[in-house]
Symmetry: C2
Subunit: 162 residues, 2 copies
């Protein structure tokens, strides 16, 4: 598996699983009805921010990450990132590889920390992955996310020093 | 003191103290060099979000608040808000009146809660005000804000059910 910078040409390969994940509404507080153009504007970031893709040995895009400054001004020493893995390609290390890549990027850019602002607490796989990479939960906004089957669940803030 | 919806005509009265607060860089993770046009686009929100002003008995704008949905999609049942009070008019109840007004607005709009994503922990006056109105700190992102005199300080997440 290779992690590389995403290009505009990758979007047709990203969109099907990106859309499936967003429309399911289980893991991100994103607009559920995001269309392909809005999704591309939302996800494909320009420098100094970055979007990456994970490509398998057959050349297929199996996951993607966006990484960016978390806040402007006197908060701009902290990065953030988001990840989407093709649900048909989960549990093969794609999410971990993308998260590790984003941490390398953030260190290389000189960020002091990476923070996630809204990790859905029922997304146990993601929470455990982030914790295994050094993140800790710094707090939870209670009932801040309407999970389609679990009801009102919390959104974790997570943090790791770089 | 009156709280009313802000209009584009209020911006020249808001900008001087807004700019002073933003440029001081002590209380908000906003771009320090925000100019008047960028500031207006940043602060004056269109429905369904809202910007309000506090006007004193002499008709002067002494404070302002913006209030908005905090997250899209399955997070859109939670509101957020931000407040700016003219530093020359502090400690006269302006911030409290603006915060109470935004809570009334959020309840009337049907939001289930209000959350703040980034309250600078050294902004003790604001933290105490929010706590007096029912907010509690749900977590703190450590060292997430470079205070110009205090150094690296935390950003609180705060929450109140409506």
């Amino acid at each position: 598996m290779l992690i590389r910078d995403a290009t505009a040409e990758d979007w047709p390969a990203i969109w099907p699983f990106f859309h499936r994940i967003v429309a399911a509404g289980e893991t991100y507080p994103y607009p559920l009805d995001l269309d392909a153009e809005q999704g591309r504007a939302w996800w494909l970031l320009a420098p100094p921010d970055r979007t990456a893709v994970a490509v398998d040995d057959a050349g297929l895009v199996v996951g993607t990450a966006k990484m960016n400054v978390n806040r402007p001004g006197n908060g701009d020493h902290v990065a953030s990132a988001s990840y989407m893995v093709d649900p048909d390609r989960q549990a093969r290390g794609v999410g971990r590889a993308l998260c590790e890549d984003s941490l390398r990027w953030a260190r290389a850019q000189g960020f002091a920390a990476m923070e996630f602002n809204a990790v859905v607490e029922t997304n146990i796989y993601a929470v455990k992955l982030y914790e295994s990479l050094g993140f800790r939960i710094t707090g939870t906004q209670p009932r801040a996310f309407r999970h389609p089957t679990e009801g009102l669940v919390g959104l974790h803030c997570m943090h790791v020093d770089l």
